[in-house]
Assembly symmetry: C2
Homo-oligomer: 549 residues x 2
């Protein structure tokens, strides 16, 4: 009788736990052991900000599956508080140290799965190790933050970094009654989003009393008065905080893989093939530490997201079990809710396209209600959709608003996954009742606008080049009085047919209205009358809310 | 100079209004005139129940676009309260009567678009024309219902029919404080759904005090005491109501088309080709009156839905303008919200598959939370997904629950539209943050379960044949005590590896648990140990909530 295969997993959270559990379902005979440096496996790290914020009240809720459950349900051994310090690839042996006893032993493997995750970035700023400065990556981290807030009666919080975790922490600290300042190095919040799409979030934070400082960074932490921290910024501000949260981002934990001589990709993550196998045929790697393909641009990147980590765990398990599956890459679908606003995106941002050298793309903006306007409570969704000019393929979408935001991004995510075009968005048949959407859903509208742009019915003007052409505003006078693009000609749509003589021929006319619909009608009218009319996508709402001016 | 083309549109609500507006955007030169029997064009008929219910307070909100707007913005002539009584196809002339003046005139056309819609079914029940019995198809209908409720101080409502409109009317009447009884001829509410998926809705209505009478119909209306109506049912009940709403369904308005000799399909709708052209090359038809293809089964059917009506209007306009577009058929994506519950579906139901003679299908049930359980407020979604056994293609999905229901159906609708398989569902990368979903979203879980069923990892047992095989329940004793499938063997999952000897070999073992997850683990464990284990999809939750027992 042959010895059962011994499969070791390093890291027991999303990707590692998924790989182990899936493997057991595929193979009852192998031995599976999971090692984790921390005290828990399979915990809900996405819930940590909400535990800090007292939205999630019980710590045990964050434990998705305990070590005991892994053992009793899956016959998977779990060694928490065990640090894997070395991989001897030639002998296929791990060196493991128990953090509790200090004891070190060797653990042989037939196949190894690395799921070491990512660590919070802690830049070498003077004073960064002072008490009261925290990252939030683990349950013990959150416990320490909670204890500090309560023990020090913290009132003033500084969050360094305005990305997903930064915003969620800001919201949760505000929920606990702390005043919050965010310092973000970039000129926008939520750096993975295109800058204009993040503008409404900055507005929402400001209106909730959060002090948002963009384009600034921390240069020094120092002890301040009464136990507070004094924080100096690049722009010369001095801020006082009772607690500081570092949310600058994470870096893949590749030290173990690197020391073992595994190939590390140019993006800094562990290089893997489509089966999640590393450069060593006996070693797989999954989760936040690996380099994956961007499913849209094909760029190699490290994307720390829970959904892809779980999928990668499954793929690795299936490969180990001898099944022919493969990882299709990461679409980077993500969502963040904070201060009543929701921001979501899928596929490539315009930034990502530019970074990848893609210029065969076009973009549309729109601002539809999350459901029909005639039903009470409709909230606008600011939506940007990027598509390939040449064939209409949907490349990416970003949305921000209060309601129904992530629903539209999820639908577009599925369209991108299946290679859908903007025509497919216009053809989508989605749920409609007054409280849920519209007979022409925002997803349909995005498709209509993009198709009109593609087929030449409605060429798009570029917001980035506003002012290079004549601007025609077809809103009503009362709307124009409340604000308008400087220098625009004003002719209300219903007068346009009779006032065509006032418009110049032979030069581009960029047409705008409130949100784009009347502008579209005007563009059609003008083009059919021989004018070179183009559409400023999303109208004055784009100009105002997304600050394209 | 040639005369501009004259295009007439009969019916100015969803499909007709869309066709007219789209046509203008494609062609500034043609003359477009819309005729409607009613006083309004382009009104929001999906909002009528909510206007009755005082959720929508102002009638003018229901007017999407006025006749004046059509004229001033689109140069589209609108003749409301004009009845088109005949089509002379040879001469291409309509006979139109003004309902205001009684005057009749002829209107010549180059191209005609029929969008006559559908009429509420009013069965020839004795007493059906008594005062206090209403259908709700138009703004004046709703106005009459509101006036009756207020004028008669109505307290007891009877809704005949438990479909979309029936439930929405029930909810809105209850919202106004009326006690509501629903009489529905079928053995379930929401007849387009599979019966088991409608069970939770019946439960929700009952818990909100609605008297739901399934498998019963009205046989007689008679004047009762104090101005009330006395209603007799097939099962012999006598009900008293101050107001009766007929919501039995609609039938396509084909009388005009029929009289003109246009081909009517076997389903009763006007027959059209993929350009929405009728049997007459100069006549198009769109909306609730036409027969369309079911995009999944290919069956010809009449589906009264606003989204498809609008798409058809666009297609007809594009065909008339000489563009080569086509209508892809109807997926029948639909949603209904009532009494805190949301029901949504897309694609084929199991009923529809059977009706179409399809037997190459399989189904899975699941009951995931609408977001992760560790975040407060997760509500279960009861989800059924139908897919083709042979190639995994997704055929349809139905869901019911309180939150996040229509989002999942919308995502699956896009998957169906693009020919996606259950593998694509498992690969979906959807928005995840604790308050929005899960790293393994319900859509992913549906894909996992279906793929496991397809690839033989987890053959499915049939709930319809419960009791023909041994049933094994792997829940904990405390769960079993609260209710169980009669005759099941109980072995908790964590004891299963050590108690395999208690199970029979060589016969099918149908495994159940609470919602399916532990059952899946048990099936994998048993099958790898040589047992013929199958999975009862969705576990005891399916048995209990969907009443599959």
């Amino acid at each position: 009788m042959s010895q059962p295969r011994r499969i070791l997993v390093v890291g027991g959270v999303a990707g590692g736990a998924s790989a182990a559990a899936r493997l057991r379902r595929l193979d009852e005979t192998c031995e599976i052991v999971v090692f984790d440096r921390g005290p828990y496996v399979s915990f809900a790290n996405c819930g940590l900000p909400y535990y800090v914020g007292n939205v999630i009240l019980e710590e045990r809720k964050l434990l998705v599956a305990s070590a005991e459950l892994f053992q009793s349900r899956f016959a998977i051994g779990v060694r928490t508080e065990h640090d894997v310090t070395a991989i001897d690839r030639a002998r296929r042996v791990l060196t493991v140290t128990s953090l509790a006893t200090g004891e070190t032993r060797e653990e042989p493997y037939d196949v190894l799965v690395l799921a070491p995750g990512a660590a919070a970035i802690r830049p070498p700023i003077p004073g960064i190790d002072l008490p009261g400065i925290f990252s939030v990556r683990t349950i013990p981290d959150s416990r320490r933050v909670r204890a500090w807030i309560e023990g020090e009666n913290a009132k003033r919080a500084l969050v360094v970094g305005g990305g997903f975790i930064g915003l969620e922490m800001a919201e949760n600290l505000a929920h606990r009654g702390l005043s919050v300042t965010i310092v973000e190095k970039a000129d926008q919040l939520m750096p993975p989003f295109d800058a204009e799409m993040a503008a409404p979030i900055a507005d929402a934070l400001a209106s909730h009393g959060v002090d948002v400082r963009l384009g600034d960074g921390v240069t020094r932490f120092a002890p301040g008065r009464d136990g507070a921290l004094e924080v100096t910024t690049e722009r010369g501000a001095t801020l006082t905080a009772d607690i500081v949260i570092l949310a600058i981002g994470v870096r893949p934990e590749v030290s173990l893989a690197k020391a073992a001589g595994l190939t590390i990709g140019a993006s800094g993550g562990i290089a893997v093939n489509e089966s999640m196998r590393t450069s060593d045929p006996y070693i797989y790697a999954v989760g936040d530490a690996v380099e994956t393909l961007d499913a849209v641009t094909g760029a190699r990147q490290v994307v720390p997201l829970a959904g892809p980590a779980n999928r990668q765990g499954r793929v690795a398990a299936e490969a180990i079990a001898g099944r022919g599956t493969h990882f299709r890459g990461v679409q980077a679908t993500a969502v963040c809710g904070a201060f009543g606003m929701v921001m979501a995106s899928t596929g490539a941002s315009e930034k990502a396209l530019r970074r990848a050298g893609v210029d065969d793309y076009e973009k549309v903006y729109l601002h539809p209600g999350h459901h029909v306007g005639y039903f009470p409570g409709a909230k606008p969704i600011h939506l940007k959709v990027l598509f390939r000019k040449s064939d209409g393929r949907v490349l990416g979408a970003q949305a921000v608003g209060e309601e129904g935001v992530e629903k539209r991004i999820d639908v577009i995510a599925m369209a991108i996954q299946l290679g859908g075009t903007v025509h497919d968005l216009s053809e989508a048949e989605l749920c409609y009742a007054p409280q849920f959407g519209a007979a022409k859903d925002p997803v349909n509208l995005a498709g209509f606008i993009a198709e009109n742009a593609r087929n030449g019915d409605m060429p798009l003007a570029s917001w980035d080049k506003l002012g290079e052409a004549v601007v025609l505003d077809v809103r009503e006078p009362a709307e124009v009085e409340r604000g308008a693009i400087p220098g625009a000609i004003h002719i209300p749509l219903h007068d346009l047919r009779t006032r065509l003589g006032e418009l110049p021929r032979g030069v581009p006319i960029d047409v705008t209205c409130a949100v784009g619909q009347r502008g579209y009608f005007a563009v059609r009218l003008l083009r059919q009358n021989g004018f070179d009319a183009r559409h400023l996508s999303g109208g004055y709402q784009t100009y105002q809310t997304l600050r394209r001016g």
